[in-house]
Symmetry: C2
């Protein structure tokens, strides 16, 4: 984002010099103009959009949350024109963000076909293939020649989101084949589509998760993925650029979850989100963790007398407890990511557990050596021994918990990313306290266990 240009446009708008503002952005790419508009007050953005050519296309590139804000500023005629010309998936997205009063005001301004399209597309559940597909694509008939197909594509092009893939349907709209423009361009003009088309079509069901759709598009390097119902009827397509958006949204959610922030679509923007929303997204995990920490507290209170007579134990408490939590959150992070990218599946669990134990043992021994020296300096040989045994046990058990929790959540049908660092940390902390103080009580000859 060019900050200098942004402030020039802003300045021009505050001086009511719309013409200068228009000149400044006129030569820019649609996506860049959209970005400029997103950084302006809604009123300015609308004034600019009223005067810009290709305004529906620019509007479609604006972040949907901001689109919904702009809706109130447009005259009804402009709004109807812009919304009519938006791609059908973006239009439905916007529609779903409006409140029911706004929705009712918008619908009559649209053509009958568009109203039905919006109604149909907005019935699909969020985060499914249906919710992100567009209904604008090229369909062909298998009895056409390549020349006829090219003519059909030319006619349908203005309304299609892509012409690089065309879908062949039968009279009941069942999807029976796909042909790429690449293949059409290379084929003889008189060849029949039925001979040229690929009948083994990669497709998604309308109720598939959007994440699955994005993965399929990436796996097969597709430009677009057709979406069908369970009878095989073609309902829409998802294009690769929308799949890229989905993939980055999902990565974002996982990232926030592992950091203990509750994530949900529409994704959280730290700059724009209301203070209360930020509070609400964060308070859940923090309060859970307060009660999680009480487990550690209970562990400690059970061993109060061993602490009181060996106060040096408190010096090492944060270190030992923290190490278990850290080792655990590391292995949870690796595992959550591996599950998300499909690198590992359930049946790998036992093999992975064995590997994890060996790695954790190595880590535990390394760290035990580091703290044993400190333990000997601040305490005595016995304290050093307590630290060595505790550290190895804590890192080992922490890693096993961190590795297992995402699998357990996955098995329970919950999102493994919820095995976020804070949750694992909290469980490992409490386990660590108990291991440490139990070993200390044994070795330092206390009897209060």
């Amino acid at each position: 984002m060019n900050a200098a240009l942004l402030s020039q446009v802003y300045e021009a708008m505050t001086q009511f010099d719309i013409e200068r503002a228009i000149t400044l952005v006129a030569g820019m790419k649609k996506a860049d103009i959209a970005e400029v508009l997103e950084h302006m007050p809604a009123q300015f953005s609308c004034q600019l959009l009223e005067h810009l050519p290709r305004r529906a296309k620019i509007f479609a590139k604006i972040d949907p949350a901001y689109q919904a804000k702009l809706v109130h500023e447009f005259s009804r005629a402009s709004l109807a024109e812009i919304v009519s010309e938006m791609p059908s998936d973006k239009r439905t997205d916007l529609f779903k963000r409006l409140d029911s009063q706004e929705q009712q005001a918008l619908l009559p301004a649209l053509a009958q076909a568009q109203r039905e399209d919006i109604r149909r597309l907005s019935t699909y559940q969020e985060e499914t293939a249906g919710a992100i597909m567009t209904s604008e694509y090229v369909t062909l008939n298998q009895d056409m020649t390549v020349a006829e197909a090219m003519q059909t594509i030319r006619l349908q092009a203005p309304d299609a989101e892509t012409i690089y893939e065309s879908y062949i349907i039968d009279e009941k709209r069942h999807l029976i084949g796909v042909v790429s423009l690449h293949e059409l361009v290379l084929a003889p003009l008189q060849q029949l589509i039925r001979e040229l088309m690929n009948t083994d079509v990669v497709s998604a069901y309308v109720d598939d998760d959007q994440d699955e759709v994005a993965k399929k598009i990436a796996h097969y390097d597709l430009i677009a993925l057709p979406v069908i119902d369970h009878q095989g009827t073609l309902l829409g397509i998802v294009t690769y650029d929308d799949a890229m958006d989905v993939a980055s949204e999902e990565a974002n959610e996982d990232f926030l979850k592992v950091g203990g922030v509750e994530a949900s679509a529409p994704s959280l923007n730290i700059k724009e989100a209301s203070l209360f929303l930020l509070y609400r997204k964060r308070v859940f995990w923090l309060v859970i963790l307060v009660f999680g920490s009480l487990l550690s507290g209970l562990g400690i209170s059970h061993f109060e007398s061993v602490i009181q007579s060996n106060i040096v134990l408190v010096f090492f408490l944060p270190l030992l407890v923290g190490s278990g939590g850290n080792a655990g959150s590391q292995s949870a992070t690796l595992m959550v990511r591996a599950l998300a990218t499909g690198d590992v599946v359930m049946k790998d669990w036992f093999k992975l557990l064995g590997r994890e134990c060996l790695v954790a043992l190595g880590l535990g021994i390394t760290m035990a050596i580091a703290v044993a020296i400190l333990g000997y300096i601040r305490g005595d040989a016995m304290v050093a021994l307590v630290l060595i045994l505790s550290m190895i046990g804590i890192v080992l058990i922490g890693s096993i918990i961190g590795m297992s929790l995402p699998f357990i959540l996955d098995k329970l049908g919950l999102d493994p990313a919820s095995a976020s660092a804070p949750l694992v940390t909290s469980i490992c902390d409490a386990t660590g306290v108990i291991i440490y103080l139990f070993i200390a009580a044994q070795l330092l000859n206390q009897v209060n266990i």
Copy 2:
């Protein structure tokens, strides 16, 4: 991945029944066959590849790390044939993974042009546009008609990674325009390319970071992005599917970093990576954190006598210390992600700091209320007061540290994702110990500060 099919193929191969194995995979998509091969022993994969049609294309879809393993199993003739037919970017990728002896064995088997292409492409630095670009694309001349351009595209199609974007170059190979197949198909056959082409081309420099390239492709919804040198000479293109791979690789790295696992390309696969590699990637942060925790330990030892005379304080120690670390790692997570997605920039810092303080105050008060009740039950009103003041202070300061650290790292030119949860947690923990015990010492009338 279909596990049943996988074991059928595996069984057929162990029984030397290659024909059955071939029949099992023959109808599958290239990407799926590649996935089957990745799950077989190298020897079996090679035997299958020797007999499969389209083997170069299937081989190109296999994970590069596994490709390098397969290289040793092929006969020299097969290897030369497969490597010759790979797309140039994948071929260079593979070449870079071979040791110098293997490289020297491969080069003579390739045609002169391919050898030079490999040499040229492998000189670009890792993680730049040059390292991920391919040299197979369609070029046109601005004086061609649309009909001539279409003919040129048909001729170049077999060797091009995409024909959906064609690049117009002058006699010095300077990039002067771009035209999509979409535009060509809709244009009159006699129109000149110079009239049709878009001269305002979105491009990347060969030394741009691969992450920038992926962002550009997503931002402008491109099918391919041309890569030029600083004189404007066209050197290659990066296609959208490679950009998707880059984006998911970068998200993966950030995710691992925030979990305190050292990340670097080639990315870590928890199932395949050697135990020592997994150990090495994790031990760094864990040992750093051991020393981080010592800060907390030092804080505690400074206040040992206040603890000894108020042992109830130890009960709440993990809770208060943990809360600061958790709040801090939450705000660090939000900030790291916001910096990575470009949602916030440096100049937003002060505004964000103000917002963060308000949110943290809200969080601190909520949590203070929860623990104050517990403090009153286990201790007395004075302990409750210590807890309230400590909790608010700790959450506030933890959040400010969590918010600031990614910015500071960014300013220092370091990767903000290194402000990983463990680092922030460790700093916040120590700060929390000091705040808590300092307030306790003051209010519980101790004099040892």
